[in-house]
Amino acid sequence: MMSTELVKEPNRYEEAFRQATQGRAADEPTWLQSLRENSFEQFEQAGFPNVKQEEWKYTNVTSIAKASFVPVLTSNGTALSKDGGLTRFIYEEARHSRLVFVNGMFREELSSRSALPDNVVAMDLREALRSSEYEATVREYLEHPVLANGFAALNTALFTSGLFLKIPRGITLDAPIHLLFIGEGAAENSPPAAFPRVMVVAEENSSATIIESYASPKDDGVYLTNAIVDLSLADGARLQHYKIQRESMGAFHVATTRAELGPKSSYNSTAINFGATLSRHDIHVQMDHEGAECSVDGLYMVDGSQHTDTHSVIDHRQPHCTSHQLYKGILDGKSRAVFNGKVFVRHGAQQTDARQTNKNLLLSTGARVDTKPQLEIFADDVKCTHGAAVGQIDEEEKFYLESRGINPALARNMLTYGFAEEVIEKIGVESIRRELDAAVLNRLHVQFEGVS
């Protein structure tokens, strides 16, 4: 019953798709028009995912299907100004290397790129599609089959703006590049749906840090973010990637991250999930070449009736690759978290070193975690470990703090903070660490200074 019901919901998007198609027909290459049509057809057939599908077993998106989201197809006015409302979302280290999007639409006037070298290409995806130099690259990305689910198909059908980012060969960027996605919810009955699409090309031996953050000026604004971020790392490229999801508590956040790692490249990702009433993050790291390494870490912290779901795939397809994964979760109230982490070690991927850990801290009896680390190994000379833990505050640790005069409530909070720190303290951008420290402490309703 549920699945048929869900399949019908896409009709709401049909009008948007027709509108969008008319609006940009003249503007877009024909290959993209047919790609969009195929994608939309896919979406119409499959609808939004439902809980009968294994990959969506614990995450029910009926609320997204039923809400009357209106896809954002053009830039509307925004309440934000460059000096005003934006300031609190800007990281000092990336003040002049920030690219700002409002409801998925790139905003040049809110962005600043003076700290970026001239040869770094950072342009609205719309512009890249019109560029003879980059159209072929963009096409390659877009035609690369994305995840076979309704959200991804809908993004391809409806994305209007986004970013094409190229870090040239041999360049090391000092300033992190901040992609700031602002969600401005609508008060009335038709909340906006944003479909940002990002492509990052890290050329040979380049090195950069990318911050992808999601935030909202209002704590309760309702909107949907449905984002796809593609990253490709060429030979020897190094990329630090921080995804900071602090959407409004009324928002829905669905995002896909895909990273393809070239020979001897290094990809380090930390995904933070604090916001949104419902969030789902699919992260796929494909290691198609020898000698690549990645760390894929994350921290989710949810409370109340929040729901957060991480599905991760780390695919070792060639020998001599390393992947380390640490995901931690803190759950309070009646919140719920899902962690599904697959690590594949394909036939012939000898000398693979893969480690995966998922640890969860339950602060209330009403919270629930479904965790499923999955290791599938088809090679025989590998070093692989994985594990998952769900637990409460350690009583010996708590007693130790109490025995120094710290009251039980504060002791619990310090231990919770410490639990989160294992992920936060590794983040290489100080402003992010400070922001997250403060967010964790705020969530715990305590005050003490962050890492000294």
Partner: protein
């Protein structure tokens, strides 16, 4: 300062302490010795309020107040400190954060001035000299990745910062090499003054070469079976604990009660 009367305590239903009587006055250093399993560490943990230990009979007065009615954190703020035999690692919380928070909780309790991170840093620097700890330890997570000796020094640093009236050192000498033992012992000696008291819980006499006890109590089978001055420790060192077994059960008190 501390008066223990007929203290009985059990863990998981097994009675470990079977009627301890002990009086500790200001300025005194007491050593509690005894073979493994005699209940020495249990006594230390009961005084600190460890939740796994249940007091089934008896009472403990600290400065005239009922210590057993207080929660572990209240005891600490009142001035009771236990140095752990196995200090616990607290990942993600720095030593400096932890110590400042503990310090300020106590200051708050005493109605004294709380310190901000910068002010506290100065205080910590001063105290760290006492146990020869480098500044880098302060920004590291509490006890995480510390060697056995570093953990024990960190316990004494905490004692120095919290400035307790009564310090109970639970096997602080175990696992220490001779240099670390000297540093720890000198730290304890420097912190001692006529208004404070120390209880050393130890299996071996060697710590007592560095910290001279006023009284030695020998625990066996959950009872104090022998008491004396510092010379008793030497006698134990020489004869071992086996000769006490005959005395066990009679609970003969040959030396006068402390104080």
């Amino acid at each position: 300062m501390l008066e223990i009367r007929n203290l009985h305590a059990s863990v998981d239903g097994n009675e470990i302490l079977k009627g301890i009587n002990l009086k500790v006055n200001k300025g005194e250093v007491h050593a509690i010795m005894g073979p493994n399993g005699s209940g020495k560490s249990t006594l230390a943990k009961v005084l600190a309020g460890h939740p796994s230990y249940e007091v089934t009979a008896g009472e403990v007065l600290f400065d005239g107040k009922n210590l057993l009615e207080m929660t572990p954190d209240e005891r600490a703020r009142e001035g009771v400190f236990m140095a752990f035999q196995y200090p616990v690692e607290i990942p993600g919380v720095s030593n400096a954060q932890f110590l400042r928070l503990a310090y300020n909780e106590k200051q708050k309790h005493l109605g004294a001035e709380e310190l901000d991170p910068l002010e506290f840093k100065d205080l910590l620097k001063e105290k760290a000299k006492l146990v020869e700890m480098e500044a880098s330890f302060m920004s590291r997570s509490v006890n995480e990745g510390f060697s056995g000796g570093e953990k024990k020094r960190n316990e004494i640093l905490q004692m120095a910062v919290l400035d307790p009236k009564l310090s109970v050192l639970d096997e602080t000498d175990s696992g220490l090499d001779i240099d670390a033992l000297r540093i720890v012992a000198e730290g304890v000696n420097k912190l001692h003054d006529p208004n404070k008291a120390v209880i050393l819980v130890t299996h071996y006499q060697r710590l007592l070469n560095y910290i001279t006890p006023d009284f030695v109590h020998v625990l066996s089978g959950g009872r104090i079976v022998k008491e004396g001055g510092k010379e008793l420790a030497l006698e134990l060192e020489e004869k071992g604990y086996d000769w006490l077994k005959s005395a066990n059960g009679k609970s003969a008190t040959v030396a006068p009660q402390a104080g």
